[in-house]
């Protein structure tokens, strides 16, 4: 007699169970198939090509009516199951029951809906089945329609690409810092975003949806940061959760998914489950490969054969035509793990392999994924790769042979091959220059301009030199920023400007960083370069700052901090002094000291007290003195004409005006100024980064002094008749320093490299250049001149400075 099998859900997993079962026992089963969707099994993975118009529904049907009829399956499509009666072993829909000997639950998953206002408006769709797909196709019919996709994961991006191909204007909102963060690292995420933007898809990362707007139907999406996007269609693709309601109501064991054992049996041995609705060994499943493995095991269990489900690693590919990415295995960093990174900025290629104990354990690739399946095989098989490690990243084609000569490629180039795209220089012109006596990179740049603009081809020019000159070519010994790159600070600064690189992943990809996300040496430097060059575009990264700048206070040897409020030009008053004294008493601050920069230092403040001390000082009008920053510290002054019988100008007033103009700006290293009212120089202006000495006829401005590790007198920049010009020259000089110096070079070190004559030509002699420098400085100040104390006087910031938890009251067992 035939055994009765009831299946809930006609999806890809249960479809595969049917195929295995009927192949083994074509006559053994009496099968009833329920499906809430009014159709049978189709290939859901191919919905994206249907959305984009590259395929039709008919193309993706896996089991048609004839197939179900041929196997004598009772199809109850369009009927949602409402109840399982486990005692009498009957499944009910609203249209009636179906008895079973064995039951298979394959209810799949439901899309996660963000609980925001407006989520129920017409025009808000999810992306799980053919009905969703058709709804999106219908919405895209209107010319000039706008779509917002919430969620930058696999599904969301496929939806975005499909809607774009249908002619809609598409914006993707993604909560995390980069796209597909579960499958890609930041470098690959950056390339993907760049690719999508080239296709006209707008990408908004770190975007948290606040509300979906509209009256009768959807009209737009509002984010927490108050950005708004118009929308005729909103597609929510933020994730899925296992559809377990029917199993929960039947009192089966359900955790996040329906719990199954290795044989795919639920807590009731007559009920099996497969697909996205199950949880096996604490794990959920969303990709098709493990679902097919489950189907095979479930069929074997039904056939009373021994089989056990063992989840295997899966690899991810994005089905967007023309976007090439691949990710597999575990690509987190860790001790004992090593990265091999390959970047080809010109082609937009990034490959990263993660190796542990001579085994490949993870791979992320973008732009060229041809070797993906080979790498995936190495991961799955746990192959020992030590013998091929040197050439591993180049793929299977390079294994087993001798190492390729790196100069062979450049040697093979014909003379007319272009080397430098910026200046249109071909290989022939470079070799001609070498024949005429050029022996260094600098010579080639001077004669041909090759590599003198954006600099990307520097390596290639050096290879031409090395090939032509042989051992006579010595690559100049340059000091790279750190082990992550071969480039110097100066190279990186130049390329950030020339190539308009505006984020850390952009710099690391386009300049071929050898690590995936930098180190404590390069990250603070890059963070400064990016915020100095792109104040409007780049967002300051607190986690790439050293402790003092992150916490806006100076850390001391015992882990406490010092707090220094700003005293403009060294001036203060009883109200400020009283507030400082009160704070010192209230927070039991152990030491109070007058600094060399004419202000007061509160030493020994506990971290959790910092925001409270700041709030108290703020209330008296005191702001951060930035005594901890690579930025403007103090402007030291003497009392000038107000009180001094020798004073020639209002030195205190000029000092205050300079400090008010410059405070809050970030610079490559700390910057200290002073203004003295007469040549007696009581403010010691002649050993400051910028020192102004007032005389009867005007203002003598000197730069590049030092009185720290080195002792150096300022060099004369200019003498000007008016205070206004003195301020202009100072601001222009500081901006020139911000734009050109390497991170952690004080102005005097930078001056030693570029020379005072070059600086004078930019700042003093060229009025247009000076005005442009001042304008760029003021633009940056419009973003960065904010009191960090006031920003942290909020309850949230105060909580962030306090411990996450206090367990000192808990007793040990």
């Amino acid at each position: 007699m035939k055994r009765r099998l009831v299946i809930i859900g006609a999806g890809m997993a249960s479809g595969r169970v049917l195929e295995h079962l009927l192949a083994a026992e074509p006559e053994g089963w009496d099968i009833t198939l329920f499906n809430a969707e009014p159709r049978g099994n189709y290939n859901r993975i191919m919905l994206s090509p249907v959305l984009s118009g590259e395929k039709r529904y008919d193309d993706i049907v896996t089991h048609d009516d004839a197939w179900y009829a041929r196997h004598d399956i009772t199809c109850r499509f369009g009927e949602a199951v409402v109840r399982i009666d486990r005692v009498n072993k009957v499944v009910f829909s609203n249209a009636g029951g179906a008895p079973y000997d064995k039951l298979l639950i394959a209810t799949g998953s439901a899309p996660f809906i963000i609980p925001v206002q407006g989520r129920d408006l017409p025009g808000v769709v999810t992306y799980r089945d053919l009905d969703d797909t058709n709804a999106m196709i219908a919405a895209s019919d209107r010319p000039g329609g706008k779509a917002v996709v919430i969620g930058g994961g696999l599904l969301g991006l496929e939806a975005a690409a499909g809607l774009k191909l249908r002619g809609m204007e598409v914006t993707v909102i993604h909560l995390m810092g980069h796209l597909m963060e579960r499958q890609l690292d930041t470098a690959a995420g950056y390339l993907l975003q760049k690719d999508l933007e080239t296709r006209g898809i707008r990408v908004h990362c770190k975007g948290s949806t606040a509300a979906i707007l509209g009256q009768d139907r959807v009209e737009g999406v509002l984010l927490e940061d108050n950005t708004g996007y118009e929308a005729d269609l909103v597609c929510m693709a933020v994730g899925i959760r296992p559809e377990t309601r029917i199993a929960t109501e039947a009192a089966l064991e359900v955790a996040r998914g329906i719990v199954v054992n290795d044989r795919m049996e639920t807590s009731d041995p007559d009920i099996l489950a497969v697909g996205e609705c199950v949880e096996h060994d604490g794990q959920l499943f969303g990709l098709v490969a493990p679902l097919y493995d489950q189907a095979k095991v479930a069929a074997a269990t039904l056939l009373r054969q021994d089989a056990a489900f063992r989840p295997v690693q899966t690899a991810t590919k994005l089905k967007v035509t023309g976007v090439d990415l691949f990710s597999a295995g575990d690509f987190a960093e860790g001790p004992g793990r090593e990265d091999i990174v390959f970047r080809d900025p010109g082609r937009g290629v990034y490959k990263r392999l993660v190796i542990e104990n001579d085994r490949l354990i993870g791979a992320v690739m973008y732009g060229d994924t041809g070797d993906g399946s080979w790498f995936f095989g190495l991961i799955k098989d746990g192959t020992d790769i030590s013998a091929m490690r040197d050439t591993l990243i180049f793929g299977p084609a390079y294994q087993g042979g001798t190492g390729a000569d790196p100069l062979a490629a450049v040697a093979a180039l014909p003379p007319e091959a272009e080397i430098c795209g910026c200046n249109g220089v071909c290989k022939g012109r470079i070799t001609a220059a070498i024949e005429d006596g050029a022996t260094t990179l600098a010579d080639i740049r001077a004669v041909t301009s090759a590599s003198a603009s954006c600099g990307t081809c520097t390596g290639l020019v050096e290879q031409v030199l090395a090939h032509s000159l042989g051992d006579a070519f010595r690559k100049p010994a340059v000091q790279p920023i750190c082990g992550c790159t071969d480039l110097t600070h100066e190279d990186v600064r130049r390329m950030i400007k020339a190539q308009a690189l505006k984020s850390m992943p952009a710099v690391m990809q386009e300049l071929g960083w050898k690590t995936s996300c930098g180190c404590p040496v390069c990250r603070p430097a890059l963070n400064f370069y990016l915020l100095a060059d792109w104040p409007l575009d780049y967002e300051d990264d607190a986690q790439s700052r050293l402790v003092n700048e992150r916490n806006h206070a100076n850390i001391q040897k015992d882990g406490t901090y010092s707090v220094v409020p700003r005293m403009w030009g060294g001036m203060t008053n009883p109200r400020e002094l009283r507030a400082i004294a009160d704070a010192a008493e209230k927070y039991a601050i152990p030491a109070v000291k007058v600094t060399g920069g004419q202000r007061i230092d509160l030493l020994g403040v506990r971290k959790e007290d910092l925001p409270h001390v700041w709030a108290d000082l703020n209330a008296a009008g005191l702001v951060s003195g930035h005594a901890y920053s690579k930025g403007l510290r103090t402007v030291k002054t003497c009392v000038g004409t107000d009180f001094c019988r020798f004073g020639t100008q209002d030195s205190t007033g000029l000092g205050i005006r300079l400090e008010q103009r410059l405070w809050g700006s970030w610079t490559p290293h700390k910057v200290k100024l002073a203004v003295s009212g007469c040549p007696r120089n009581c403010a010691e202006a002649t050993c400051k980064d910028v020192g102004i000495v007032c005389v009867d006829s005007g203002y003598e401005i000197g730069v590049g002094g030092a009185a720290g590790m080195d002792l150096k007198e300022i060099e004369r920049l200019a003498k000007v008749p008016s205070e206004e010009e003195a301020i202009d020259l100072t601001v222009a000089f500081i901006q020139l320093y911000r734009e050109n110096a390497r991170y952690l070079d004080r102005p005097y070190r930078w001056l030693a490299k570029v020379g005072i004559d070059w600086v004078r030509a930019q700042v003093v002699d060229d009025a247009d250049q000076r005005a442009a420098l001042i304008a760029r400085f003021d633009l940056s100040q419009s973003i960065y001149q904010r009191d960090p104390w006031a920003d942290r006087a909020t309850p949230q910031a105060q909580a962030a400075f306090a411990p996450l938890a206090d367990l000192t009251q808990e007793a040990a067992e």
Binding site: G177, T186, A332, E333, G334, P335, C517, G518, C519, P520, R523, P524, A542, Q543, S544, R545, L546, V547, R550, N551, I555, K557, D558, G559, A800, P803, L804, A805, D806, L807, T808, E810, A811, A812, E813
Partner: protein, 114 residues
């Protein structure tokens, strides 16, 4: 093991750390760029610097005081940055589940003597 919920993953910035106070001193809970969490005593073996304030890179942290590099998984100091043979910080079991950070309560309350 008894796991203790000490807060949400989102309470710690990526590549950052927050403190948990215990009777034995502070324990630093780190969140790496790939959203893994690690718990270590907040004291550098070199001169006691607060590791929680260092720059986190990969699964390591650089001490903010003098730059010793400590592995987050094993608490070991990298020799190249001045770590003596065997210099290490006590580590504690930590994991993330459903966006919450869980630490081993018993180990945490017993401290490094465990």
């Amino acid at each position: 093991m008894s796991w203790l919920d000490i807060g949400a993953l989102e309470d710690i910035p990526r590549r950052g750390a927050r403190l948990v106070k215990t009777v034995h001193g502070c324990v630093a809970v780190f969140r790496s760029h790939d959203d893994q969490v690690f718990a270590l005593d907040d004291r550098c073996p070199h001169k006691g610097g607060p590791l929680s304030e260092g720059i986190v890179h990969g699964h390591a942290v650089t001490c903010p005081l003098h730059g010793m590099v400590i592995g987050l998984t094993d608490g070991r100091a990298t020799a190249a940055t001045g770590g003596a043979e065997g210099a290490a910080v006590t580590t504690y079991p930590a994991r993330v589940e459903g966006g919450r950070i869980l630490l081993d309560a018993a180990r945490l309350l017993r401290g490094r003597a465990a």
